[in-house]
């Protein structure tokens, strides 16, 4: 009897120890860290509009760009880098001034190719106007980057085709908005030689309405997708909102043409218009600082294993609130199934979406709560283990920007933030309230989380990507 009881106790102890170890080891646990320090950010810069990329060759190597130091004739703008999965960070001042007299960084986005070489799309402005450049690595990883040909205009983004199965591996694509058209047009600049030469092609349908919010994602078969919105007026929409369609289109020929899904693409929410944000007052102006949300309402990602396409967008729905919806296509964008991802209780926007190797979908977004005396903005990270049918939502941070001296009302964290996936882990960055700084301020906050549940055995056995 005693022996049996003793053996049972032993099993219990072993189970408790196992559970403790698994919890302690942080299997599936959310890791969140302010990457700035007083030493790295002595000027207390706002570090807005962050973007993130993970080196596919060495997933512990992570790069982030934010609006930190500007480039000058003498010194480059920084790329934040970590080589230990985001535990510690440095700034590498390698984004040089593209041509004399050009100011920046303006908008920016970064990515890695299959060989672990970094690329950064940058907007520069100067006396002559606006130019975009894709910077490439021509020396060591931390050496000054080399800008390619100038192209484009507003809000350049960047996707590098790094799939081993892609016939267009190594091609890169940079969507931007063409303001030279009578109605602005979503345009994509493509390059087959690392940005040395860029070729821009109109990709959005601006025949009736101007376009906005162009985002891209490369598929494992070499196809490239964009999502963009057509801005269809404000009739019947509340203040700060406009009527829109969110379209996905596809290029099957390396960006030469954008008719894979017809001339204007496919609306991911069907024929009916939706109402989305177009405002410089996301939040409650009467209760504190507010944010700009004009190109802050769509994102796209492709499952690199099976080619499923996931699109996130903003739709003000019957709840009376702007909500985050996620649509999924299993037939290369031809048809879509859409469902709400946010909970219908607060205005939400700024969706970024990513998919891990095992098909788990991650969603970063922001909502706000103005029920109290001040507006509280909340960064959420939600994961769906069932292709978007349901979501596990974590609040990464709740922030009142009021006391943050470098938080400027009208542009708090930027138009978009950063989320990506490498293998089975999500990596993200948002601009939030600092921690551990002498001066309370906006800082880039990094997070990562595995795409598994803590009780999955596979989760414990996975490397910490």
């Amino acid at each position: 009897m005693n022996t049996i009881r003793s053996r049972s106790n032993g099993h219990l102890v072993a189970a408790v120890v196992l559970c403790s170890v698994s919890f302690g080891s942080g299997c599936g646990k959310l890791f969140v860290r302010d990457i700035a320090t007083d030493a790295l950010d002595p000027s207390n810069l706002a570090d807005t509009e962050p973007s993130i990329a993970v080196n596919p060759e060495h997933p512990r190597h992570i790069a982030i760009v934010t609006f930190s130091e500007n480039w000058s004739a003498a010194k480059g703008a920084p790329v934040w880098k970590s080589s230990d999965s985001g535990k510690t960070w440095t700034k590498v001042f390698q984004v040089v001034q593209p041509t004399p007299g050009e100011f920046g960084p303006g908008d920016q986005k970064l990515d890695f190719d299959a060989n672990g070489r970094i690329y950064v799309a940058e907007l520069a402005s100067g006396g002559g106007g606006i130019n975009d450049y894709v910077y490439r690595q021509t020396g060591g990883p931390d050496a000054p980057l080399t800008p390619g040909a100038s192209y484009g205009n507003d809000q350049p983004h960047l996707s590098v085709d790094r799939s081993s199965s892609s016939p267009l591996k190594g091609h890169l694509y940079s969507p931007w908005l063409d303001f030279s058209q009578p109605l602005e047009r979503s345009t994509v600049a493509a390059s087959s030689n690392e940005g040395i030469a860029m070729s821009s092609v109109g990709a959005g349908d601006n025949s009736s309405f101007p376009n906005r919010t162009t985002r891209s994602a490369a598929a494992p078969d070499g196809k490239i997708y964009i999502i963009y919105k057509t801005r269809e007026g404000t009739g019947g929409a509340p203040a700060g909102f406009e009527n829109a369609h969110f379209h996905v289109n596809r290029s099957d020929d390396g960006g030469l043409t954008w008719t894979g899904l017809g001339a204007s693409g496919i609306s991911v929410h069907g024929a009916t218009q939706v109402q989305t944000y177009f405002t410089t007052s996301f939040g409650n102006l009467a209760k504190g600082k507010v944010a700009r949300a004009r190109s802050s309402d769509a994102w796209i990602a492709v499952n690199q294993e099976n080619g499923d396409v996931h699109a996130a967008y903003v739709q003000r729905d019957a709840s009376g609130f702007a909500q985050i919806y996620v649509a999924r296509s299993t037939d290369q964008g031809a048809t879509w199934t859409s469902a709400r991802a946010s909970d219908g209780t607060h205005n939400s926007a700024y969706p970024e979406i990513a998919v891990t190797k095992r098909g788990v979908v991650g969603l970063l977004f922001v909502d706000y709560d103005d029920a109290g005396a001040v507006t509280l903005f909340r960064h959420h990270f939600a994961r769906s283990f069932d292709h978007g049918s349901s979501w596990d939502d974590d609040v990464l941070q709740t922030m009142n920007p009021g006391p943050l001296s470098n938080a400027s009302s009208g542009f708090l964290w930027g138009d978009y933030e950063g989320l990506t996936a490498a293998k089975n882990t999500f990596y993200g960055v948002f601009t939030g309230e600092s921690s551990g700084r002498t001066v309370l301020q906006l800082d880039p906050v990094f997070f990562r989380q595995k795409s598994c549940r803590w009780w999955w055995l596979g989760c414990w056995l996975e490397d910490d990507d």
Binding site: G106, D154, L177, F179, S408, D415
Partner: protein, 228 residues
């Protein structure tokens, strides 16, 4: 009251008035108190290049064109009026160009002395032209001349504060453009009742530098011009 006492009181009163009058006139009026640092700033060679003084001597052109403020950068002077359409900017620039050959203002003695060297320089005339102002995508009028230095390069806000004390008011402004590129976040330090504003931009290569100075045109003309 006896007659002698009345006369004494009257004389004493007159004496008091004579005594008090110069003291009263030596007290600066509120306007003078406001314009005093403005006055000094408009002749400060730590703030301005010599080309600025040439431009200041012709500020009446901006006023006549209806510009209530100008933005003085290191290499150009830009009007405060924003136009949505390029033709509006071109019209304003053309009207101003027609005034560029006018003789400069008749300067008050203080400014005539201070600006004498700048005005005696043989330099090509400033060119008035319409530009697209990148910061907010508006169309505006600018004065420019190749190689000119209006605002001193490398002028820091720290140097301004060392010379003139803390600003009366500091505000922040986010300047939105038509597109969604990064907006400029301006830190505006106001002096002289807002007649002069030192502006730092987070888009500058070094945000600690003064990016531009905004001048109140009618106030500056009133100060500089002799007839006023």
């Amino acid at each position: 009251m006896r007659k002698a006492t009345k006369v004494f009181c009257m004389l004493a009163g007159i004496a008091c008035l004579f005594y008090a009058e110069p003291r009263a006139s030596s007290m600066p009026s509120p306007q003078a108190a406001d314009s005093s640092p403005f006055d000094k700033m408009l002749t400060d060679r730590n703030i301005w290049g010599e080309d600025a003084f040439q431009a200041f001597a012709s500020l009446d052109r901006w006023k006549d064109a209806g510009e209530s403020s100008i933005l003085v950068f290191t290499d150009k002077i830009v009007g405060g009026s924003k136009f949505e359409k390029p033709e509006q900017g071109r019209e304003r620039a053309a009207a101003m160009a027609r005034t560029m050959n006018r003789p400069h203002l008749r300067l008050s003695p203080e400014f005539a002395t201070s600006y004498k060297a700048a005005l005696s320089r043989k330099t090509p005339a400033l060119q008035a032209e319409s530009i697209r102002f990148m910061e907010d995508d508006s169309y505006r009028v600018q004065w420019k001349r190749e190689g000119a230095e209006f605002l001193k390069k490398q002028l820091t806000m720290r140097a301004v504060v060392a010379a003139y004390g803390a600003p009366e008011k500091t505000t922040t402004e986010v300047v939105q453009a038509l597109g969604d590129r990064r907006p400029a976040v301006l830190t505006i330090s106001a002096y002289a009742g807002g007649m002069v504003k030192f502006v730092q931009s987070d888009l500058s290569p070094d945000p600690n530098m003064v990016d531009r100075v905004v001048l109140d045109v009618p106030a500056a003309v009133a100060l500089i011009q002799a007839s006023h």
